[in-house]
Symmetry: C2
Amino acid sequence: MKDTGIIILAAGSSSRLGTAKQLLEYQGKTLLMHVVEQALASQPARVVVVVGAHAEEITATLAGKDVAVCYNTDWSTGMASSINRGITQLLIENPGVKSCIFSVCDQPYISEENFTQLFVRQSEIGKGIVASTYADTVGVPVLFSKSYFEMLLTLHGDQGAKKIVEQHNDDLATIPFDLGGVDIDRPKDLNHLWHQMVSVSVAREIIKNNCTNGSKGIRNIRNAGGYTVAESIVSNLDIPHFRQSAMDGYAIKFEDRLKTLNVVGEMRAGQPFVEKLISGNAIRIFTGAPLPEDADTVVMQEKVKRDGDWITITDDHLAMGSNVRQKGSEAQKGTLALAAGTLMTPAAIGFLAGIGCQEVLIFEPPKIAIILTGDELQELGKPLSFGQVYESNSLQLHAALKKAGVVAVNVYHSQDDPDKLKAVLAEALQESDMVLLVGGVSVGEYDFVVQTALREGVQPHFHKVKQKPGKPLFFGTKEGKMVFGLPGNPSSALTCLYLYVLPAIDQIMQRPDSLTTISAITTADYSKNVGLTYFIKAHLKDGKVSPLHAQESYRLQSYAQANCLLVLEEASAGAKVGDVVQVILLS
Amino acid sequence: MKDTGIIILAAGSSSRLGTAKQLLEYQGKTLLMHVVEQALASQPARVVVVVGAHAEEITATLAGKDVAVCYNTDWSTGMASSINRGITQLLIENPGVKSCIFSVCDQPYISEENFTQLFVRQSEIGKGIVASTYADTVGVPVLFSKSYFEMLLTLHGDQGAKKIVEQHNDDLATIPFDLGGVDIDRPKDLNHLWHQMVSVSVAREIIKNNCTNGSKGIRNIRNAGGYTVAESIVSNLDIPHFRQSAMDGYAIKFEDRLKTLNVVGEMRAGQPFVEKLISGNAIRIFTGAPLPEDADTVVMQEKVKRDGDWITITDDHLAMGSNVRQKGSEAQKGTLALAAGTLMTPAAIGFLAGIGCQEVLIFEPPKIAIILTGDELQELGKPLSFGQVYESNSLQLHAALKKAGVVAVNVYHSQDDPDKLKAVLAEALQESDMVLLVGGVSVGEYDFVVQTALREGVQPHFHKVKQKPGKPLFFGTKEGKMVFGLPGNPSSALTCLYLYVLPAIDQIMQRPDSLTTISAITTADYSKNVGLTYFIKAHLKDGKVSPLHAQESYRLQSYAQANCLLVLEEASAGAKVGDVVQVILLS
């Protein structure tokens, strides 16, 4: 029984909003679902959701979640009745409950940490109230210890808990929650959230939440390597298809094991006829050969004494059925042979071939469009005029996509003209499942890619990530299709592809994440700005990782020497020689 | 100065052999070079090689090795003079030398451990002599402490040190060296060595020593992903091809930095004309754009105050050349851009595109022939008759080879008939660089693949490896082409491909080893036979590795679920839950 609670107040009618705020979707989830999931993920606490307006609809969305959903019949009288209903529920379930947190459902940036921090701070300093602070005010989520429950139960009408917080400044601790001030009072507020610069983990989470499964297609197993099986495969045959010897030896009846046996025949793999075994006889047999009718056991050739055509058995451990592969022991007709979701490795291909399966349904790789912007780009093979650079992004991105099993990559070039780019983007979205816009995502006056994407109806999710390189990374969606805006600098573009695009492709294809992160010892001091995650081109050898020279984002020479990215987290100020750091393996 | 020595007696004329025994090659090295390298790799000791017959030829092969080569003018009088010469050399170099080991050059299985064990045993038990034992006798390598040097110096003619060993049984310790008895007194002795069952590490070493570099071929960089560059690439251009702004900002003359400057123009990437900068003016500039003539520095847009067309600079840290990418700073015309041996990763492809390079010389993957034996094999898609199994090895091996970048794979089927197989093997050796014979390598009466390979002139290196699965693994070479005989059981065949064939391909293609071995915690007890290395199909998740059910070598179902092989070393008796074990990653 949990002795703390989190009460999510979700009873309001969202009258200012004109629609059920609780069910507004942001980044693929309802605002209510987001806060519920974060509450459930925090330090163990009983989660109570108080509903009122739109109760039925809201309750339905919470099916299967481990929360108490309480209907507040008086919801229209104001906040106080919902506070009352929530506390009462906690006390009914556990009269010993020691504290509770109040939360709401219009803080899109709330995370489990906000809840955990309140609990931790309270236990550390013993104040009766711990509130969040943002925009020069105190607010939710806010924790009250049990001594305040009676006072909370006396609130009425529109009174909120804030009144009690303000009256007990001396018993108050606070936790900063800068993004807590971003709430949703108007639908268009949601439209501004994407301007927030997000952390790497948030960016990944947002992308993950927007992944949809790839379409399914049939492949001959010979061409299915690296794909994931989209439906379970049932065996059409018993495999082995007959009782088979697992050894070179003699096939016998187990009951004859103590007799001297007459070797009367021989069976080998691929031999077309069948011996029938008569009691008192043995048949010489080789690995993979079918067992004679009426034989039930094979003795290894090392475990007999043979004298002419007669053998005696010296195997004390022989058991009925020893060294026999039973019919159907690898795969049984009509039963599950390979589960949906299995990756088609060479072994899986061999297994399916062995059971006679020729085709599989797999998750297809997405069709990908690369749209290059930048009037300065010159095509490889032509001479460079003044001010031109060779276009290299399409080649390196295509190479990385090909390696990831993507088959269809269309490359478009667009002049730096908004209308032309818009037309190209429209075509690319039509033809492909995912679009990579390259270049033009930073804030310069001539960087118009993001604006063009918005004009084309792409819903933006973020366009700035707290990282180096690749800070100006755009991510949006249109009708389930993903649009990435990668930086134009080749080094940044490739790093963003590795960190964000390839994992999305893995998820679409339902494959295990192909990014492997391991620990290593760093060989050099490296200092960085706190507040950005750094991805440093590096070389890993024998568990030691060395940052390479020339990290500038326009430079690929050091990247060409790199076999990993050294990761220094957002909060870190750098690493010292000998520190254990995380590295992402490239290959 | 080392106070122990290893004297290698290599002065004999090999009269029984009819050729210089010292220079006989076994597994790609001369017998003498093998013992020299093992001696140098053992516990630090001065290595002395005493030569006589064929002295000039033998001495030449030792160039560059850290050994003293001593010519024994009296070599024809017998062994004693060489013993004398070796000890004298040690005493001249270091009068304080405390002990020495005598070794010979016709023990192909000697290893550094044999030397180290003698030194260690001597220091542990303090006996004056430590000899090796094999085949019921004592022999070399043998260690004598200094107290025996005088006695050794009095030997004469054909007398060997064995006489002294036999006379001092009370001061003798011994170390078993079973394979020490395999010496080379007749050239054909070398032909029997391959019957020895070898350890996994020895098998790998033998294969490695027999790898030759792949042929070289030209590829468009678009199709060069995953290959290794075979010759260094020099840049034909300065890249960037012009001085380039690294920021959005203002191009200025550094000497003007304290003035209020008039913004008189704008340059952006892809803009075809060039502004000339006059003192007192600034040019608005964007990332990637060429610097105006006479400008030398760029100020970031965040570091100026702009008032109409006038700016003042607020950047205290501005230096001459700030935010300018100099011409040639990524690659300088005529200098090394990418070294031979670099792997063509996506970044390397991008880098080469950026410097205008379209084609590279790479090491080609080998052409590979798969020869299937086994009359019981039925082709996928046809019905199974009694006693038949679907042929799955070619599919899974092909899938794994394709994944490793092998393009040309020819699959042959041969009936279980020695002459037909011999003809197929001859054709395969003609058409391909490497041959994989599948099935028929174990010792059953109908397993004739190894015999056929020998008849076809393949030089055998080993055919039994101390491992499970895959004990009957054959490896031979013919005219620089490798021939592997893989077990017919699908699971064993695939494991042997991963462990031996793919690393050989990596080496032929000069790529980094694609087998990644990491540490993990095992979740289950597993007991095994000492004396075999086990490779267990397993599943790795979050640093924990679980052996899968159904390890039998004919079964692929568990292999289809595996993402790694758990390795239990030859000397191990198994692993317990919680032990740290090594795993080889598959994918």
